[in-house]
Amino acid sequence: MNTALSLAVIFLIINLAAGLVRVARGPSPEDRMLAALLFGSTTVAVLLILAQLMEIPALRDVALLFGLLAAIISVAFVALPADHDRDEEDSWR
C-alpha cells in the first residue's frame, strides 16, 4: 500500500517537473499561468496522498489552503493585465 502511494507521489512530482518546463519556457503568460495552476492542483493531490502515507491528517488542511491559494492566483491573473510579460528575452535582467 505504502509503496503504491509513494509511487503515486513520485509520478505526480514528475508531472510537476513537466509543468515546470511550461512555466520556464512560456512563451505566452497564459502558458505560464496555466502551468502554475496545474501546479496548484497537483500539489493538492501530492499533499492529500502524503497525508495518508505519513499519517499526518493536518496535511489535508494544508491541501485546503493550497486549493484556496490556487483560486486566488487565477483571479489575480485575470485581474492583472499581463501583456508586458510576453517578451521572453527582455533586456531587463
Partner: protein, 312 residues
C-alpha cells in the same frame, strides 16, 4: 522507507534546480515566477519533514504574499520605465567563476558542519514538549510561539509594523492603485470573488481555531486573510487612500497592544511578564495577532498607507 526516499531526492533536486534557475535565469519576470514555484516545492518539503505548520506558512506567506509583492513591484517598475533600458544582469562576467568557487566552498563547509554536529539529547525543544501540558494548547508550535517564546512573537509583530511604517516613509505621496479599475474586467471576476473572499475568511477563522490543537494559528490565518485583501485590492474593490484611517491605525497595532498590555498586567499583578492567565488568553492574543498580521500585509501589497471600499 526506500521508495519514499525517492520523493525526498526529487524534492531536494527540485529546490536546488529552481534556486539555480531563479538566480541565473535570463528574464526577471521568469525568475519571480520560478521563485513562487520554489516556495510551493518548499511547502512540500516541509510536509515531508513533518512540519505542516510551516507548509501552511510557506504556501501562504513565503510563496503567496511574497510572490504577490514581487510581481506587483515588477509591474510598477515596468510601468515606470516601459523600455526597461539600461539594465544588465551580470556586473562583471569575470567574477562569476571565482564567486562560484567561493560559494561552492561555502556550501561544502556548511553542509559538512551541519552533518558533523551530533544532535543534542536534551534540547529546549524536548523541554517544550514535556512542559506543553501547562500551556492549555496541544499544538507544540503554538505553545512555543505564544507561551514559551512569546517575546519573540511580540517583537516580530513590531518588525511587521516597521515594514509598514518604513514603506509609508518612502511612499511617494500619490497613492497608486494596484487594481485595474480603469480596464473593463471579465464578467466572471465578480462572481468568483463573491465565492472566494468569504472562503478566505472562513478558512482564516478555521486555521486560527485549529491552531490550538493542530497545525495552523495566527500567522497562517492572518496570511490567508491578507490574501483575501490582496484579491480585493487587485480587482479594485478596495482602493488606496492617502492617509491611514484611525481604525486601520488601531488594527495595525492591536496585536502588539493586546499582547504586551496583558503581559504588563500580569507583571504588575505579581506574575511574570508575558505569562498568560489561561487558554482563553491565548486565543484572545491569537485573534488580535491575526488581524494585525493580515492588515499590514494587505497594505504592503497595495503599497498604500490605507485602504477603503470602492465608492466611499
Amino acid at each position: 522507507m526506500g521508495i519514499s526516499l525517492v520523493i525526498d531526492v526529487l524534492l531536494a533536486l527540485g529546490l536546488v534546480g529552481l534556486a539555480l534557475q531563479v538566480v541565473a535565469g535570463p528574464s526577471l519576470f521568469r525568475s519571480i515566477v520560478l521563485f513562487v514555484v520554489f516556495g510551493l516545492v518548499m511547502a512540500l518539503a516541509w510536509a515531508r519533514l513533518h512540519a505542516p505548520d510551516l507548509a501552511m506558512a510557506e504556501a501562504a506567506i513565503g510563496a503567496g504574499i511574497t510572490g504577490a509583492l514581487l510581481l506587483m513591484t515588477y509591474r510598477r517598475l515596468v510601468e515606470l520605465n516601459p523600455e526597461k533600458r539600461g539594465e544588465t544582469y551580470l556586473g562583471s562576467r569575470w567574477l562569476a567563476a571565482p564567486v562560484g568557487v567561493l560559494t561552492g566552498v561555502l556550501v561544502g563547509l556548511i553542509g559538512w558542519a551541519a552533518l558533523q554536529l551530533p544532535p543534542g539529547d536534551t534540547t529546549a525543544g524536548t523541554l517544550a514538549r514535556d512542559a506543553l501540558d501547562e500551556t492549555g494548547v496541544s499544538n507544540p508550535v503554538t505553545g512555543v510561539l505564544l507561551v514559551f517564546r512569546g517575546y519573540d512573537t511580540l517583537l516580530e509583530m513590531g518588525v511587521l509594523l516597521l515594514a509598514f511604517l518604513g514603506a509609508r516613509a518612502v511612499a511617494s505621496g500619490r497613492a497608486h492603485s494596484p487594481g485595474t479599475s480603469e480596464v473593463s474586467e471579465p464578467a466572471l471576476v465578480g462572481a468568483l470573488l463573491s465565492l472566494v473572499v468569504p472562503l478566505t475568511i472562513l478558512v482564516g477563522i478555521y486555521l486560527l481555531r485549529a491552531g490550538g490543537h493542530a497545525p495552523g494559528g495566527a500567522f497562517q490565518a492572518g496570511a490567508v486573510l491578507a490574501a483575501g485583501g490582496v484579491l480585493l485590492s487587485l480587482t479594485g474593490r478596495l482602493v488606496p487612500t492617502d492617509h491611514t484611517p484611525l481604525v486601520q491605525r488601531l488594527v495595525l497595532v492591536l496585536g502588539l497592544l493586546v499582547f504586551s498590555g496583558m503581559g504588563l498586567f500580569m507583571l504588575f499583578a505579581g506574575s511574570a511578564m508575558l505569562s498568560l492567565p489561561g487558554t482563553w488568553a491565548i486565543y484572545l492574543v491569537e485573534t488580535a495577532l491575526m488581524i494585525s498580521i493580515a492588515l499590514p500585509l494587505a497594505l504592503l501589497f497595495a503599497q498604500a498607507p490605507g485602504l477603503k471600499g470602492r465608492g466611499h
